[in-house]
């Protein structure tokens, strides 16, 4: 589904991703871990099409298409979804209005009929239940004044509404209490199918108890330096990243 080959990216002349390789098949869950500043969010942003990041080498194909060639909106319409590490507050734009416009533009791209107000509302209601999000929240301006946890929930809610084939969750668990975490994980799990895939970026193995990954990758200095199964996440939790840094230093010499 997603194939990343030798991806290099830089921002304002500074190289941040230094040759990422990753293959993701339908139905899989991949966890990406790594110390602060290692490039996890950068990878997520590059996949979603943020324009400040310049891809200097490599290629990314998504469902057979050159992903890097598409605008951010077309990537979303093709089925890529990024749950932001820091969701943006957008004063004055109502959550409902925003989401309805987005959904209908996605549908238009896919050659589907637009949803009228009634159909959209029932879609909202159904998905609201799934992520246990309060209706009151959605009648407010998009993310404005939302608590950290509410913002993260809203990301998952939007994901549920848009039904992506590839979801990238960038630290969606950070800042959530255990109850909220369960709700978010439960939402993600319910949306999982044999046809879609998920990338979870996280610092905490705790999340991976609820969203069980098929693979765990460690990103360091813009490269995937180690890959393994869920056991790797447990090991990282226990030992931290230093041993991996040492390993990397060892092979570099």
């Amino acid at each position: 589904m997603l194939s990343i080959k030798n991806l290099h990216a830089s921002v304002e002349g500074t190289a941040i991703l230094n040759g990422i390789n990753l293959e993701i098949k339908p139905g899989e869950v991949h966890a990406i871990m790594g110390p602060n500043g290692s490039g996890k969010s950068t990878l997520a942003s590059v996949l979603a099409g943020r324009e400040e990041y310049e891809v200097t080498a490599g290629e990314v194909t998504f469902k057979g298409k050159d992903l890097l060639d598409l605008s951010p909106e077309d990537r979303a319409r093709e089925g890529v979804f990024l749950a932001f590490q820091y969701p943006v507050e957008i004063p004055g734009v109502s959550s409902t209005n925003f989401l309805r416009t987005a959904v209908n533009q996605v549908r238009e791209y896919r050659g589907q009929e637009p949803l009228d107000a009634v159909k959209f509302l029932s879609l909202m209601k159904e998905k609201m239940k799934l992520v246990e999000i309060d209706q009151k929240l959605l009648s407010r301006a998009l993310n404005e004044g939302f608590s950290g946890g509410e913002k993260k929930k809203n990301e998952i809610f939007q994901m549920a509404v848009l039904e992506p084939t590839l979801s990238i969750l960038d630290e969606t668990d950070s800042g959530l209490d255990i109850d909220a975490l369960k709700v978010v994980a439960n939402g993600v799990n319910q949306l999982k199918s044999k046809d879609n895939a998920t990338i979870v970026v996280t610092h905490y193995q705790r999340l991976l108890d609820y969203i069980v990954p098929d693979y765990v990758h460690v990103l360091f200095n813009g490269r995937i330096v180690k890959s393994g199964t869920k056991a790797l996440a447990l090991e990282l939790e226990e030992k931290g990243y230093d041993w991996i840094k040492d390993e990397v230093a060892g092979t570099a010499v």
């Binding site: 957008i90 734009v93 925003f98 987005a102 996605v106 791209y109 939007q158």
Partner: protein
């Protein structure tokens, strides 16, 4: 014209010659003589004058107005279709000026609701109040209007009267061989405990260059609550200078909303005197500018007694080579303790060639007050744009939605539903279209 001078006397001479002082009650001839003196002595401001340093409207007028006279009344105004749908949907009391002159025959004056009088028909005490709120010596253009208007209109809303429908003042403007300068002159007296909304619209009947120079004076008596909406949606050849002055008494409120959507150059001077305790002045503005349009809002609020409040929010979206100017003066006098005064000016620049000059000017002598001000000028929020696009929304839609949300904060101050809808539609068209 020499720009080294702070004042432009040549232009003043031109206007003084164009307008022989009209006769009429002695009070007016005295007022007009005073205005003449101001023009003779100080002339028009050049960019060397602090208050006009970003807005060289004197030069603009000198360069583009060939005939400083005033056009004759337009015939068959009742057949004009412009704004017909809007006027029908608002269903208010229409008050018409025709090239600056009040049109009694076309104006509504329902028995017992409010009074409508030409200045020349006023009794001695009502006359005395004209030109006292907006004095000719305040501003050269205030003096020009005072010197040049040939008939004014006084509207009296009686004590205790609550007008359910808005007054809709429509100024029809068209230059002709007699000139291109139009001088609407209005005095509105809102009696004690009265309540009313006034919508002010201007219809330019063609695209010829015109200069509209108005003065309006608002006397808002105890516990009266007045809302004033002004829509400026002309064309690239309109030059406008408006002086609006208001005197607010105890427990009274004046709310002003000015939307500037299309013009060549506009200067709005809005001055509110909060003259008693517990009174309130609200000043809101939205300017959407493109091409070379230049809009300058100078506002002034004076808190002279304790416990008064002012709220101010002006927002601008500027494209192409347009320019916006905002100057907000807030005075809080020494005895005006417990004053609340808030001011904000926010701008979004959509082009590298667009400019904003913004300046808050707070002078606070009282010590127990709450005052805040802030101004921002920046580009559209790229983070927000990316966030929306990452959900599948096109760049154009996301942009329009963000800009519309920005403008919406001012539009929501309009409380007359059909007028609000109309303004929202204009703003929508602008933000989805040329932006």
């Amino acid at each position: 014209m020499t720009l080294s001078l702070k004042k432009d006397h040549k232009l003043a001479d031109l206007f003084l010659q164009a307008k022989p002082e009209s006769a009429g009650p002695k009070f007016f001839s005295d007022l007009k003589s005073k205005a003449r003196l101001v023009l003779e002595e100080v002339g028009f401001p050049t960019v060397k004058a602090e208050e006009y340093k970003y807005t060289n409207i004197s030069k603009k007028i000198a360069d583009s107005i060939e005939n400083p006279g005033s056009p004759s009344p337009i015939s068959n105004l009742e057949k004009v279709e412009a704004l017909r749908d809007l006027l029908d949907s608002i269903d208010g009391y229409q008050i018409i000026t025709n090239n600056g002159i009040p049109e009694e025959a076309l104006s509504d004056s329902p028995e017992g609701l409010f009074g409508l009088h030409h200045f020349t028909d006023l009794d001695a005490s009502a006359i005395q109040e004209i030109g006292q709120i907006e004095k000719p010596e305040n501003d050269a253009f205030s003096a020009l209007n005072t010197f040049s208007f040939s008939q004014g209109l006084r509207i009296d809303i009686p004590d205790g009267k609550i007008l359910k429908k808005p007054l809709v003042m429509v100024h029809y403007v068209r230059a002709d061989e007699n000139g291109a300068c139009v001088y609407p002159r209005i005095f509105i007296n809102a009696g004690k405990n009265s309540q009313a909304s006034v919508i002010e619209l201007t219809v330019f009947l063609n695209d010829e260059t015109v200069f509209v120079n108005s003065v309006s004076e608002w006397a808002v008596a105890e516990n009266a609550h007045i809302r004033h909406y002004k829509l400026q949606d002309g064309n690239k050849n309109t030059l406008e200078v408006h002086n609006t002055g208001a005197n607010i008494h105890k427990d009274a409120t004046l709310t002003s909303v000015v939307l500037s959507l299309e013009a060549g150059m506009i200067r709005n001077n809005l001055s509110i005197d909060l003259n008693a305790s517990n009174c309130e002045g609200n000043m809101y503005g939205l300017y959407l500018l493109n091409g070379k349009t230049h809009v300058d809002n100078h506002t002034n609020v004076d808190h002279t007694q304790p416990h008064s409040q002012s709220n101010e929010l002006y927002k601008g979206i500027l494209a192409d080579h347009s320019r916006g100017v905002f100057n907000g003066k807030i005075f809080v006098r020494q005895i005006a303790q417990k004053t609340n005064a808030f001011q904000q000016n926010n701008n979004i620049l959509l082009s590298e060639d667009a400019t904003v000059n913004t300046k808050p000017q707070l002078e606070i002598w009282a010590d127990d007050v709450k005052c805040s001000h802030g101004c921002t000028t920046g580009q559209l929020d790229e983070e927000a744009l990316f966030y929306m696009r990452a959900r599948g929304m096109s760049k154009e839609s996301a942009r329009a939605l963000l800009l519309y949300a920005f403008a919406g904060e001012v539009l929501e101050k309009i409380s007359i539903e059909p007028f609000k809808k109309y303004c929202e539609k204009l703003v929508h068209e602008r933000l989805g279209g040329s932006y």
